[in-house]
Symmetry: C2
Subunit: 250 residues, 2 copies
DNA sequence: ATTCCTCTATTTGTCAAACAAATAGATATT
DNA sequence: AATATCTATTTGTTTGACAAATAGAGGAAT
């Protein structure tokens, strides 16, 4: 006689799993409207709060959205690369904050992966993204730029580079990885001299890709990444020391 | 006069965001116990169902777990690489199912990224993972193996390779990417001859890494990946045709 | 004294019924 | 014809209650 483990999971969890399957399998397509909460409740033979908990689980994963009113209801979301990347970022940030991996590992992974993008980009650079990079390069040279704005432009510059890889999966991953480094990047104080160094590296990167010179692009990226990694580590150490001393003061 | 958009978000969403912040910032550490639902309700001045909805959102993201009874309650989860990779997989699968990117893009991304892992692994191969790879290699040569078991062993083989990169961030990403390809991989029917080809490539890969020959490892991986990609595309096309004809029959 | 059982208090899981708030569409008014 | 109002529908939130699991305390039997 085989004893089955019964279903001891909460009803809400089971229902949300079922709906999730339906969405993933394509049974429920983007922008499809789900039955009303009341109808779902009667169909699953549970109460409305239980249905609501199930729907909230899905909403937390950005799989559905809800609107009130007639013609309102619950609809299947079309996931965007952007949102998916953000959830990847938050996973990575969480893992990092729980010491599952270090920031230097993130930096190394980014370095390696961006090198791929560099190579792919240099193979057939796209004028649109090239123009984007040039634009950000110009922005970065404005001396009045705040540190936040400089970082934001830096992110856009690298995203344009990633876009040129013409591979959406790589984009999805890289957006997430780049984003995951922002908290540290924003901690770095860019003095005038530092910005100049970064901009020079960006320029070299831009020109190499424009000229379809993957080798030079790789070299320029290496230079930039090694430089950034050193800055990150310094910033992180500084932060650790601050934490130490302030902890000591308490 | 500036009109602020007020807070039109649902209470549950706001609360879950606040708790999420607390977890991410480290204010709430792993295995910490949250206040009871009732206490949270009174603290936030909302009803218990609202609190529950907020908690369910977090539960859906694997950030918390709940147990009934005294000494029960809601606890902060320690996220694992494994779980995070699974959520990455499901994001990727979802995006793919919604045509945000194609399976060939996933395959290409995996190819490029696994090449990185190969290079890193060959730099300083780890005996433990090498033994793991050898073990899986032996398993794959059993002729009685079912297709599913062959695929599962294939996954473990590649994961061992990825582990040798000694970079947890790359592991996290690669586990997800490899997993994202499984639905297609499982569709492929491996005839005897095909398995032999795959095993040969695995052998070459294993030996190259063992001998710290990154170049040879790269070549072996290229061979394997090109081969697999061709098989995947064939399987995918076959599936599309099946869908077409069965759709016509209905 | 030790082991086992039962009982109890605590906490999450589920339900029911109701009202609030938003909103699209119909209807009435100017 | 344009605008304002009403109404029906649907999600958002509250209250109150009971069910189910479970850790720990206390008692009974060996």
């Amino acid at each position: 006689m085989k004893i089955e483990p019964l279903v001891t999971q909460s009803l809400a969890k089971q229902i949300s799993e079922q709906l999730r399957e339906a969405i993933m399998s394509g049974e429920l397509k983007a922008d499809d409207r789900l039955p009303t909460e009341e109808e779902l409740a009667s169909r699953y033979q549970v109460s409305r709060p239980t249905i609501r908990e199930a729907l909230k689980r899905l909403a937390a994963q950005n799989l559905i959205r809800s609107r009130r009113g007639p013609a309102g209801g619950t609809f299947v979301n079309r996931p965007t690369l952007e949102e998916a990347s953000q959830s990847l970022t938050s996973s990575a940030t969480l893992l990092a904050s729980m010491d599952q991996f270090s920031l230097s590992e993130i930096a190394d992974a980014r370095h390696e992966m961006e090198a791929i993008c560099c190579r792919l980009a240099a193979q057939q650079p796209d004028p649109v993204q090239l123009a984007e990079m040039a634009k950000e390069l110009a922005i970065q040279q404005q001396e009045s730029l705040s540190d936040e704005e400089f970082c934001a432009s830096d992110v856009r510059f690298h995203r344009a580079l990633v876009d040129m890889s013409r591979n959406a999966m790589l984009q999805f991953l890289m957006y997430g990885v780049i984003e995951a480094m922002q908290p540290v990047a924003n901690m770095v104080v860019y003095r005038f001299r530092d910005r100049q160094d970064v901009i020079e590296a960006h320029k070299a990167l831009y020109q190499a890709i424009e000229q379809q010179d993957s080798l030079a692009a790789g070299v320029a990226l290496d230079r930039l990444m090694v430089y950034l990694k050193a800055r990150f580590e310094a910033a992180q150490q500084w932060k650790a020391e601050q934490g130490q001393s302030s902890a000591g003061q308490n």
